[in-house]
Amino acid sequence: MTAPCTASVLLFHEVGLHARPSVKLTKLAKRFASQIEVAPAPDGPWIDAKSIVKVMAVKAPKDTVLHFRATGEDADRALAALVRLVETDFADEAV
């Protein structure tokens, strides 16, 4: 078993990790085969990034540094995509 890949990114969304950002985050996480977890601090608690119920329960406020860790074949790509999503403030993909 390989060690998980990790990444972190600052959440600057005005109202924090509320419904709309959480929907986008879990939808994106589900596109990857890897097991993906998210935490509001480097030492956890780690929770399943593919579950909207659990992601919403974190209630991460604005200016939280979100930590991700992923295990699996596409772990690198998954983390890059998730970090990008948070960096772009959960923007819509269309123009």
Binding site: V15, H18, A19, R20, S22, V23, T26, K27, D48, S51, I52, V53, K54, M56, A57, K59, R84, E87, T88, D89, A91, D92, E93, A94, V95
Partner: protein, 539 residues
């Protein structure tokens, strides 16, 4: 002696406002809409029933999402995400395996989560409990064999309920009707939907003393419901509603007419747009074109900076809507209070005085070039004009013009159709206003928000400085008048596209300063035109 039967007295319920507007009409008490409990079958049957109900709910949500946009779509997406989350359904399936009926197991599982949300500290999370209840009832209705709710309310009806779900809201025609809630939250999805669609709504009224058909008055602005109003109250209410309606009709009518001052001078009113999608509900006939199209939103879109094709498509959409009217596109105005990760400078101290607007564009010519190419190409489609933000010294305009010429030459070599449109600048830095005659510009638009904060040395987002960030401060008006005079002396078109132009109270001062073209938020067009019509300079 009078007969025993008499009409009960009026009762006033005071709650909180959630969406403004007035309604006078019969009360309809919202009926509970779930049918009788299930008779539990064996665990396999119950499991299959819940799976089927969840599937149906997901399909229905998917169809609803396709039919809605904005707030409603976000809310439905959230419900769909919940419905697909095993963390939510797993406890229900476990209870079914232990012998529970599907409806009871599902209700218990969702109610546990609802209880969690209801105890949250933030009102935002408490308000999400209503979304969960909505999903719960949506699945429950299928498990208990209920038909979809499609209530048709009587004209001018006031729906009275503890709280209502977004599904209930979306399945009802609210035209001319209102909502009075015993509980509810101003940050619930229903409240947001009600405001977006102009449905009067009051919340937090407490238990409402009424029966179906009682006449009531709902005031969404005061957050008040009067059941069985007396004649005096009804008369006052009718007056208030009449005045509101006359004001609404007058504003809508004013929006459709050209704005002429008392001396018959025509003032152009254009609109500010941040997202081409905003234009869908706006009639181009209400304005003289788009005076400011912001492009920042595009640069927040998903995968990296938008490419030439994506930008070209967006600019063409603006031009198609404008149908020949001018469209002023502002080049990327990032920095200051508008950061773009990976493009703007992180944690810049004093960012309003830092690397922003045209300064950033000139620092990232590779990004700027893509935008200029897209604008040059879009120019073959209509009257597009390029406007540069945050210009402070003439050299900046010279460099932009140089880059524009280079981009045009490159397109020429590639044999891609293009046209070089007018190139203008925003005047929002006092240095530009004071020395406008030195700038090489085809037109000018005053960005009042920034100009005010730089003139007054008062940040527009600093709390407590409202008195200073005033568009009618003498120094601000003097600078605006000066800028207008310089532009007129050079025969350069000039407009103003900041928030000041959208404030009817400020419009007379702007006209007095010499402005004859304002670009404002689409929702402000009617009120601004009203402020212009019949205006005459003070003698």
């Amino acid at each position: 002696m009078r007969p025993a039967a008499r009409s009960p007295d009026k009762v006033v319920h005071v709650g909180r406002p959630a969406s403004p507007g007035l309604v006078l009409g019969p009360v309809i008490i919202d009926q509970a809409r779930t049918g009788p409990r299930r008779v539990a079958g064996d665990p396999a049957t119950e499991r299959a029933a819940l799976e089927a109900a969840l599937d149906e709910a997901m399909t229905a949500l998917g169809e609803l999402i396709a039919a809605h946009t904005g707030e409603a779509a976000d809310m439905l997406e959230f419900q769909l995400a919940l419905a697909t989350d095993e963390t939510l359904s797993e406890p229900a399936f476990a209870a079914i395996a232990a012998g529970a009926a599907a409806d009871v197991a599902w209700t218990d599982a969702v109610d546990a989560l609802i209880a969690d949300y209801q105890t949250a500290e933030e009102e935002y999370f408490r308000a999400r409990a209503a979304d969960l209840a909505d999903l719960r009832d949506r699945v429950l209705a299928r498990l208990r064999g209920d038909a979809e709710v499609s209530a048709v309310l009587p004209e001018a009806a006031i729906l009275v309920a503890d709280d209502i779900t977004p599904s209930r809201f979306l399945s009802t025609d609210w035209t001319g009707r209102g909502i009075a809630l015993a509980a509810g939250s101003a940050t619930s999805h229903v409240a947001m939907l009600a405001r977006a669609r102009g449905v009067p709504m009051a919340i937090g009224l407490g238990p409402v003393d009424t029966t179906d058909g009682d006449l009531a008055l709902l005031d969404g602005e005061a957050g008040r419901l009067v059941v069985r109003p007396d004649p005096g109250e009804r008369a006052a209410f009718a007056d208030a509603r009449g005045a509101l309606e006359r004001r609404r009709v007058a504003v809508a009518a004013a929006a459709r007419r050209p704005a002429l001052t008392a001396s018959g001078e025509r003032v152009q009113v254009m609109i500010n747009v941040a997202d081409p999608a905003e234009l869908d509900g706006i009639d181009p006939a209400i304005c003289d074109g788009i005076g400011l199209a912001r492009t920042e939103l595009m640069f927040h879109a998903g995968a990296g900076l938008p490419d030439e094709a994506a930008q070209l498509a967006a600019y063409r959409r603006l031009l198609a809507w404008a149908a020949g009217r001018p469209v002023v596109v502002r080049t990327l105005d990032a920095g200051g209070d508008k950061p773009i990760p990976g493009y703007t400078v992180d944690n810049e101290p004093n960012s309003f005085l830092g690397m922003r607007g045209v300064r950033l564009s000139l620092r990232h010519p590779e990004v700027f070039r893509v935008q200029l190419r897209a604008l040059l190409r879009a120019a073959t489609d209509g009257d597009i004009r390029i406007m540069v933000p945050m210009v402070a010294i003439p050299g900046e305009m010279q460099r932009v013009r140089g880059l524009l010429a280079e981009a045009a030459a490159a397109l020429g070599r590639e044999q891609i159709p293009h046209r070089v449109p007018p190139l203008g600048m925003m005047v929002e830095v006092p240095a530009a206003a004071l020395a406008l005659e030195h700038f090489d510009t085809d037109f000018v638009s005053i960005g009042s928000n920034d100009l005010i904060q730089y003139v007054m040395a008062a940040s527009r987002d600093a709390p407590g400085l409202g008195d200073l960030t005033d568009p009618t401060a003498p120094a601000v008006l003097k600078l605006i008048a000066m800028t207008v005079a310089t532009a007129e002396a050079r025969a350069i078109p000039i407009s103003l596209c900041g928030d000041a132009g959208g404030d009817p109270a400020v419009v007379p001062a702007l006209l007095a300063a010499g402005l004859r073209c304002l670009s404002v938020a689409p929702s402000a067009v009617g009120a601004v035109k009203q402020a212009i019509v019949g205006w005459e300079p003070a003698r």
